[in-house]
Symmetry: C2
Subunit: 112 residues, 2 copies
């Protein structure tokens, strides 16, 4: 973390890298979608089936959000029935260690 991270902060969402990452992961279900994709390519329906309590709209929102932040890409195949796959970009795959860090802290036994 560079030293200018120490600068006085007037806003919580400037160009701060921490906020960029939290922005990409923001919202319910987001990390679960990413985790599913870390296991491999998935279609819309496969994601919906893996996350049964998640509505179509929110899944759509999450996929758009993650595409926007460069975490995943859509792979739309022509023909019928329409079939779209989602897979992580290299940048998206690099979220693996981030989720690992989040996991480790949350699983911490508080001693030490």
């Amino acid at each position: 973390m560079p030293d200018d991270a120490r600068a006085a902060v007037a806003e919580p969402t400037p160009s701060c890298p921490v906020e960029i990452t939290l922005g990409a992961l923001r919202g319910r279900w987001t990390t679960l979608v990413v985790r599913e994709l870390l296991r491999g390519e998935r279609t819309f329906t496969e994601l919906a089936r893996a996350l049964p309590a998640l509505s179509d709209k929110v899944l759509s929102d999450r996929l758009a959000q993650l595409a926007e932040s460069g975490v995943l890409v859509r792979d739309r195949r022509p023909g019928w029935p329409p079939r779209t796959s989602y897979r992580l970009t290299p940048r998206g795959r690099r979220l693996g260690p981030v989720l690992q860090a989040l996991w480790d802290w949350g699983a911490g036994d508080d001693r030490g």
Copy 2:
């Protein structure tokens, strides 16, 4: 990450460690408060001054939230004027690597 992380997920906020961590860091300003405390003990006023755009109420909310999740402790000293210090617990200090991981990803140049 243990293998049962692969289990089908019906809710986004079960006892999943990732969600525990995100829950602790949830909300605007939260990571900035933690980052300030990573630099050392701080009083309410010092935190408020470091984060000028943050209202008393929200700062109070954040400190309560972070105390609740075991990230920091209050150190209230008797006498007048009242003076309260906040400092991270060992668990709170272990958020350092987590914020580092968030920082690194957000600062990533997208190549590789």
